[in-house]
Subunit: 590 residues, 2 copies
């Protein structure tokens, strides 16, 4: 390795105009996973054609049979390292025999073919390395759990010792797949399609009604930054600025307190284009996903299926249907019109209908307990229908029952949702506005106030805004929403009308955006994909925590470092804030 | 374009197994800067070989001679669009004649060769487009300034209307160069060298003494997150986790109040490797910069020059010397030993010496005023020397005088520092600890407490820690520090000794890191490059604000959106904080 280093230096001095041979050598030595490293090879790469080579390996002692061999591990795999048995190498034997599991060592040795019959199916199973020298970098103390993959650990222990948990081959795979996925997305956007990677601020102004935005006190009394939920305003301003095609793998923030499988900080692949329509953005995203899809997960077919919001709600009772299985909601109103009195009375109400789901083999497979549970769920949830007789509620409930039936069928051994299948779906033609939950006579944006109306509905903005559908599109994968976007309003007058007259919001809070739309704004639109969620579906993880290196716990805490933590009043002084400690009565003191 | 769209769909339906011809067509249509777009070409790409083609262009009306032509601009350049003069096209003429500058339009037309003698040197100067159809997307209202590059605007006006300022060709170039630079760095790290792009949290725990960290109140009374100044702890933990090679283009935060040319949020290219030494990291960074260097800026030679901290201070009076010009500090003590009484007395003090800078042609070029200013600077600053007679102070002052002399020479027309030259320098062998400014008998880390000692100095850690040099390296470009890194301590016992015995800090605050170092930590090291600074030097910008899309002002504010802003007491309630308004006497109320 020293000779190698010397060689690097020699070659590099000449690298400005290297001859072909030198150039070849230069790149051979200065690229790949062992470049610039104390090792010559990784633990996963030695094969029978390396027999006779002298190699240097660095890694963790995964398994020790102390008098015979060490299984050495790094990110790439395992190699069997033999402990020499000759008297002359007794010092090596002594060092290796004293090692604890997970200690870190450097082994210099020669690759040899394993004796006949001792080969195994590991990628390096044809060879072993006979130790000639060893250096112990770090002796591992007792660990809270073993690194082996089959050792199940509790979630909180995994989080507390995340640096150990990440040594598992599954977590190594997940983080590496995520890195590759993002890299290929970047290559597609930047190199193939001419997008510009632009960073936007995360210390920003609080958006109107931004109840889920973290606040960050500044050094000016009473003034706060806020951590934005997305770069929405900035990406639109970049279009007004003529950037034409923007993307960013953007850190976003949402303070939702404790929600399972949500993170207070998360990452989205954020995209915006000028001079584009809905089809353009959808085709771009299809191209990007096809380009970046991990080869080992099979290929994906484009274009993806498209479904209107109306059909999704009608047939699946949800705006993000899982199309890996059927079991649609069926309207069986006609069958019942004359048969049963209480049904006929229900049907006579406006919008009344009778819906069913056909669960294949359900009658055969479901136990009495299963049926009881389904009935219970239906009863409990349908009980609420009376409270909102005119809203769209029954179908979402049937949508939930459909998913619950699928789970029950699967627990009976029916393979319904293929975990290796990836079913993408675009859902389009969403309503642009919805009645506010607490003030149903008021409208709020179904997604956000910047979405443009469908061209054929645009005139209704001024007469019947509740009927307007938006140029919004959601991307659904296996029943999970992994992205959403829209064509934006690019005229100040229309944006002002939506903010002021329909949403009844104070437009002065967005005056910079309104001014920008009056100074030469191109038609534009975009999308944001949830990277954590997308990656977790690709790797088949139960939780986004399995594709994030250092996730927060269910309660939004970092268990390893114990964050959030106390801060002294002295340290808060420059920010002109003080803590309002809750008093015993539940009220907060001043 | 409609026909194109139809063609896309047809081809895409077949794209799963397209024939060679279809595949070719597919990629030709679905890649490049006009893919998925309402335009067929950009405004910068039409040449004489396009003559006769029917094209669709979208862009901004940069310049209007209303009865004759419009100069249409997009990010890629300008095209001259002719207004038809025939009576039959009077409606087109009417629409185009009413346009205001910076309005956004779509023009459909045919490319023709310009009449002889009317060609110019613009890239599209051989052709023009005769309008056949036009659509006005957005009419621009009166602007606060013109977009033309030669119009100088005030900094605050530029910031307030940043979306207009970004339309200038210089800002377009800067942001696009930055995007390309980062993309190539990623390709080198990820694709060539096997690095893994791992995202680390920005809602973290406050680090001990982290006075420059923004705090973020949580929903739990008295508990705060903090926005970290760098992913230092996380990247070391990733090495303990066996990730082997990590990088991240990481958003970092530093609350320094108002400092010119610093940003409260900034971006660093953050790198960490296992099983590596100082040479390895330095060679990696050289390779990365060589790989990603913009072709139009010439090539850079590796390896970079290396200089010890001691030599840098001795010869240039600074740890980040600008080596584009000479004018070293020269020790002329010997010449003066016998001549002058007061000098001899000064020299008799410990460490006494006489230093000089030779300014070529200074005597000829400097005016009396210049000399007076230099003398004044020297007097003012040397006056302070008496206060710290034993410290290293005189040389930094000479270092400053050296730079000031360079500025003066350049203002006299001497070309001293070539603005198109890029001189990289590694500065190494820094002291590991420095005396604290306010308590000189106490030591503090020169960089951070995780830096390992030089191997030959390691034994001094336990006896004379002030003499220890660290395995730290700074990367300097044209006299600016653009990066710094180190080989880290990878043994818990050594890290504990540094924290507890040398720095007198409470090690329990870093217990998670100490535990990690006890559970199989590989030797590791890394570096962080300041991306904003590096990019600004490459593009020759005066300020990092010229390479950041939406920078904060000198005072740390977002002038466009007016952030930070007030937040109501009601909105602060969930975070259990209240504002401490300063009282009239200057003290803060509770």
């Amino acid at each position: 390795m020293r000779a190698f280093s010397f060689c690097f230096q020699l070659i590099k001095w000449n690298s400005y105009r290297p001859s072909f041979l030198l150039k070849y050598l230069y790149f051979a030595l200065l690229s790949g996973p062992s470049s610039f490293s104390l090792r010559s090879h990784t633990c996963g790469e030695l094969r029978s054609h390396h027999v006779g080579h002298r190699v240097i390996l660095c890694g963790w002692a995964q398994y020790l049979r102390q008098d015979l061999f060490v299984i050495l591990r790094d990110f790439s795999g395992l190699t069997q390292v033999l402990i020499p048995q000759e008297e002359s190498a007794s010092h090596l034997k002594a060092v290796l025999s004293e090692l604890t599991a997970e200690s870190v060592i450097k082994v210099t040795g020669t690759v040899r073919r394993r004796p006949a019959g001792q080969e195994n199916k590991m990628p390096t199973g044809e060879i072993e390395v006979i130790t000639e020298d060893v250096e112990v970098f770090n002796v591992c103390c007792k660990l809270p759990f073993e690194i082996k993959d089959f050792v199940k650990k509790s979630e909180s222990l995994r989080m507390q010792y995340r640096y150990l948990d990440l040594r598992s081959s599954q977590m190594q795979k997940n983080l590496r797949l995520r890195s590759q996925l993002v890299m290929k997305m970047r290559e597609y956007l930047c190199n193939v399609q001419g997008f510009v990677d632009v960073e936007t601020p995360t210390l920003f102004k609080r958006t109107p009604g931004g109840a889920k935005e973290f606040v960050v006190p500044s050094r000016e009394p009473g003034l706060f930054f806020s951590l934005p939920q997305s770069p929405q305003q900035f990406k639109q301003l970049l279009m007004v600025a003529g950037i034409d095609r923007y993307f960013q793998v953007a850190r976003c923030y949402r303070d939702e307190g404790s929600k399972p499988d949500r993170q207070p900080e998360f990452t989205q692949v954020d995209i915006e284009m000028s001079f584009v329509d809905q089809t353009g953005i959808m085709s771009l995203v299809e191209g990007m996903l096809q380009h970046s899809w991990p080869a080992e997960k099979g290929s994906i077919k484009v274009p993806f299926q498209t479904m209107t919001y109306e059909v999704a709600m009608r047939d699946y009772g949800v705006d993000k249907p899982d199309l890996r299985f059927n079991m649609k909601l069926i309207d069986i109103t006609e069958i019942f019109t004359v048969e049963v009195e209480f049904l006929r009375s229900a049907l006579s109400q406006p919008g009344g209908s009778i819906q069913a789901i056909c669960v294949p083999s359900g009658a055969k497979l479901f136990t009495r307990k299963d049926l009881e549970e389904l009935k219970q769920t239906a009863n409990t949830q349908f009980g609420q229908v009376d409270l909102f007789p005119l809203s769209f509620i029954p179908r979402p409930l049937l949508g939930k029952l459909r998913l619950r039936c699928a789970e029950l069928l699967e627990s009976c051994g029916v393979s319904l949702r293929d975990p290796s299948a990836f079913h993408f779906l675009w859902v389009v033609d969403f309503p642009l506005f919805l009645p506010k939950e607490d003030e149903p006579e008021q409208l709020e944006s179904a997604h956000h106030p910047f979405t443009a109306a469908l061209l054929e509905d645009a005139h209704l903005l001024y007469t019947e805004p509740h009927k307007v559908r938006g140029q919004h599109y959601d991307l659904v994968l296996n029943g999970c929403e992994i992205g959403g976007g829209s064509i934006r309003i690019h005229k100040a007058s229309e944006q002002l009308h939506v903010l002021k007259n329909i949403l009844k919001e104070d437009p002065s809070l967005l005056s910079h955006l309104l001014e920008a739309l009056d100074s030469g704004a191109p038609p534009h639109g975009g999308i944001a994909l949830g990277l954590d969620r997308l990656t977790s579906i690709i790797v088949g993880a139960d939780s986004i925590r399995d594709v994030i290196a250092f996730p927060k716990s269910f309660r939004g805490r970092d268990i390893m470092s114990r964050a959030p933590d106390t801060v002294s009043e002295e340290e808060l002084k420059p920010y002109h804030i003080s803590v309002r400690w809750p008093t015993e009565g539940g009220e907060e003191g001043k």
